[in-house]
Amino acid sequence: MAKADFEIPDIENGVSVPAIKPGAMAHVKYHAASEAHLSKLGFPAKRVDNWKEVALAKMNELMGKYKSLKLFLDVCVKCGACADKCHYFLGTGDPNNMPVARQELMRKVYRKNFTLGGKLFGGLARAEDLTEEVLREWMTYFHQCSQCRRCSVFCPFGIDTAEISMAAREIMDSIGVGQKYTLEIIAKVHDTGNNLGIPKDALIGTLEFLEEDVKEATGVDVKFPLDQKGAEVMLIVPSADFFSSPHVDSLVGYAKVFHAAGISYTFSSHASEFANFGMFIGSYDNTKKIATRIADAGRELGVKRIVVGECGHAYRVAYSFWNTLAGPFDYLDKNHAVPTHICEFTEELIRRNALRLDKSANDEFTVTYHDSCNVARASRMGTEPGGQFEIPRNILKAVCNKYVEMDPEANREKTFCCGGGGGLLSDELLEVRVKGAAPKAAALKEVMDNQGVNTMAMICAICKAQFTKVLPYYDIPMEAVAGVHQLVGNAIQLGGK
């Protein structure tokens, strides 16, 4: 078991609702963004002198721009249905990690400054000014929300804490208070086209290496083309797929699918990143800029379709926001969904019997599937609601002999976040990440102990990075983490049909 200087939740018999422990996670702080990154993204380089006034003005502006924020600040009845639904609360017991209480951090400021009751009755209404201390609470607890939307599934009014935490981060950025991890990454994607800051030369080198690698393993010339004008498909993947493990194994899987289907595709060096961290900080402008970069790349390359790889929040942005932010995509073939998820693409080929698959290639794995939060609760695959659950499962059942479901109370629309989403995948937040992973780790452990599962497949780059890091704290080997297309890649038979 990986060692930690904090207590690891006991998941042996599942995770039950903890007694509240006020302040349990108040000590966890993110690293502050640099002045260079703040100003690069259009925010003040350091905290402005009249920060309180600026923050309240920003809050007022956002309430006028977002129906969600305006409504959600008003209509919560504090019924508590969400109180035991957040993985960070279940893993830490800190009451400020109950979604309703996290929202209260902003709602109390709203009441104090924007409602009659709060102005007249202050304390009785639990109204509070945006003091230095409240700002500290915002910095802490709005970075213990992975914007996974699990709370909103159970809310009688559909209140989504993600909307509140995005707004809170936008307000903080607007006064020059920002988180290093997300801002640094967004700055990199604006500069280089990807989150890791990979220059074009390095990308070319990696893709060449992968071609050789696959050739050596299979004897087949599987291509990893870059900037190939006139290709049928532009494939956009999270940049982690180029360099991280097990991400890269899914990248090989995508390439094999294109090869086997005989459909030409290309990566883009201008837009070599699917992730869009602009959403995490609630920044419309930054989200749009990143999305537009991708739309421009596709237009430039003259492709007919855009297919996207395994990344959860990025799929939310692509599925739900691209059309608004960077559309219309009128240069693409109208017979295909924009974007098409790689799982939709592969599953259609499987249904058409266009892939030769050998399930026994995955016989060493007993596989379960983890629904990534943003795919599950903020997007769809196929034409039917819930296609985002069925399509990846259909693929897994087509490429593996041994497939097992986890507890549906911890999966599908009720899936627990990996604990690293929403811009929390940063080392200094490790304690939050490990504890927040407890509910999902417990669901996985249950099928590992009782049904012999040794592999959890998923379609999110952040989930993969997070789980490989935190599952060892629960005595689960990081090798249990796999991409869906990693398993597709194992099973796919190349060469003539």
């Binding site: 509240i20 919560c76 009845v77 249905a81 009785l124 209404a125 739900s320 926001f321 609601p385």
Partner: protein, 242 residues
Amino acid sequence: MSGLSPLSLVYVVLSYAGAAVFFGGLLHKLWGYAVTPNPLSIPVTPHPATMGGVVARNLINITLFADLFKGNRWTWAGGYAFHVILIAVFARHLRLFIHPVSPLLAQIQPVALLGAMLLPLPLIYLLIRRKAVDRYAWISSPADYFVLLLLLLIALSGLGLRFVNHADITGIKHFLLGLVMFSPVDMPPHPAFIIHFTLALMLAAYFPFSKLMHAGGVFFSPTRTMVDDPRERRHINPWAAK
């Protein structure tokens, strides 16, 4: 209004002021919800991809509290009982504001009376619930208890009016109809009624400024009311449109 007693004059003014605050505040809030844009498509999925499906899902949610049922059965039981009984109580009171009373409304009066008699029970349950569970106690503010207590006092004073200090129901109806028809008449100087009526006016005036706005807000929630079709139909952000 010249012939009114001083007490009646005060209450006629208070009634119209209360109604003005209630309806004015309500419309102001609802208007705000209606005109504030949804810049992005944000339904919580899985969610219907057609308007018909969205309407059906919301009807089920609003009539059965389906999402809350998913969230917590105990809270659902108390909350649902309270709201159903509240409808019965409204049906009970409607006869005081309408003349002549329709046969249907007359027929349901016994059921509505039974409902009214039960009203304190879910309220007491919801009050205890807030205290009994550490999570709910932590999130509950004085405002949350205030609403429940106010509703409980209204319910108890109403029951007192019916069973203890029996009021002149014809006089009350005259007074209320007079208010509705904008030709006020004297208010029956009946202590239990005055208490009940005062508390009800307080609730009406408090409504638009409180979490009670969930009653109107639920119809505007973007995560529930937007159609999940962003790939099929381009959602335009009004404030970003050039």
